[in-house]
Symmetry: C2
Subunit: 276 residues, 2 copies
Amino acid sequence: LVVSVVGLGLMGGSFALALKKVNPQYRITGYDSNREHIEVAVELGIIDSAIDFTACTNADVLILAVPVESCVSILASLAPINPNITIIDLGSTKEKISSACPVGLRKNLVAAHPMTGTEYSGPKAASANLYRDKTVVLCDLEKSGEEQVATAKKLFLQLDMNIVEMSSNVHDLHAAFISHLPHLISFSIANTVLGQEDTKNILMLAAGGFKDMSRLAKSSPAMWRDIFIQNRQNLLECIGFFKEELEKFEIAIDSSDETALSKLMESANGLHNIFK
Amino acid sequence: LVVSVVGLGLMGGSFALALKKVNPQYRITGYDSNREHIEVAVELGIIDSAIDFTACTNADVLILAVPVESCVSILASLAPINPNITIIDLGSTKEKISSACPVGLRKNLVAAHPMTGTEYSGPKAASANLYRDKTVVLCDLEKSGEEQVATAKKLFLQLDMNIVEMSSNVHDLHAAFISHLPHLISFSIANTVLGQEDTKNILMLAAGGFKDMSRLAKSSPAMWRDIFIQNRQNLLECIGFFKEELEKFEIAIDSSDETALSKLMESANGLHNIFK
């Protein structure tokens, strides 16, 4: 099996490393628009060889691990193509990619979102274990070819992933709550502290809580800009819900309402009855 | 040295375990208003023996590790007292405790905030290593007796802590940004997801980011209710700043403004240049 990975950052690089680990027979080729990433990927043995972008369609499997707007434009630009190729995109939003994919290519595409990552980016952040035991969401599978779905599932199962299937629009709403909103909030917490005169003295008091809450604020602006814009509608809705919850606390604090505060926190505690 | 610990939960229990570990000669007695906590603390060897509340003032050092409103009322109720006793309170807010302490006791009190903790509570959550290598803020030391300050510093240094000194009002503002606001946000994130019809399906997609952002939502309502109310003014100010930052994202997303989004995230990325 020849697998070409376009985008050799955290997600693509880790995918290449993981595939090679489970089956050293796979031949992994790779491309990145950033020449330095290609060099690092070759040096670190993430890919067997570097290829030109135009050669990526010769593979059996093409992995697109690029910011989601680039994913849309790459799909629009691919031609001519190996007609049996399986294209798997790993983007964090799925609706636009699934619907904007050219009709002639749509059966080749399997729209996937692996629910994993770290706050780091680039090929040096890649790890062979990033995908293990994690969930991957496959969207709109009725639009993909049977053979392509089988190939994609085989690969994700080889990486020890749990497969969940749903429509791309449900995925995008759920992902807004569970991933995109938390990122947005983490960026905002970081900016809140950075906006104070006394930032350094404030940070001197930081412990585990603040570390966790600001970790995602390290994430790549290029990647998240595209996600926020593609998932604009859902995200605005989520921000609205979140602001309502925050304002319940604000009102209870403003009026020193012990009962209301206790209720709000007891409710929040309940999350961990259904989420371990 | 006889050390009495009032409040045998995460903070008090861990303090007792840590002291015993560095100096097995210390005699540690303890009291908790929850009888079950006393039993667990004795069973787990967290304290050498249980005492009545009225006996806690016979110690050389009295540790108050209770919710911050209880701390205020305990200080108001202590009498008669060993005149050389060192009282160390471990509360997360310092201004009210420092100023509400009865005048006759004020030199005995060292107002401390160890910047450590976990999302768990109760004596079973106690750990001898909770304080190691963490920062402890000592407030308004000019109001404490020299002997008491020396005793408190000696204990914190024995626990391998880093000591920082500041006024209680500066502490409370900084703590609002670095600890109280992040807790409030984590509770609000949990309630946002819990408020959806599809909570379970949304949580099925949760990965490391959501786990981190919702971890603090497990924290104790009894403890945090008091903190939020005592630090009301600072916290309301912090919420205001945070909402402004969140709204900058909201506006940029609403208008699909790539440049503004990139700028906001690049700014947030900068946190980690000054905070490792």
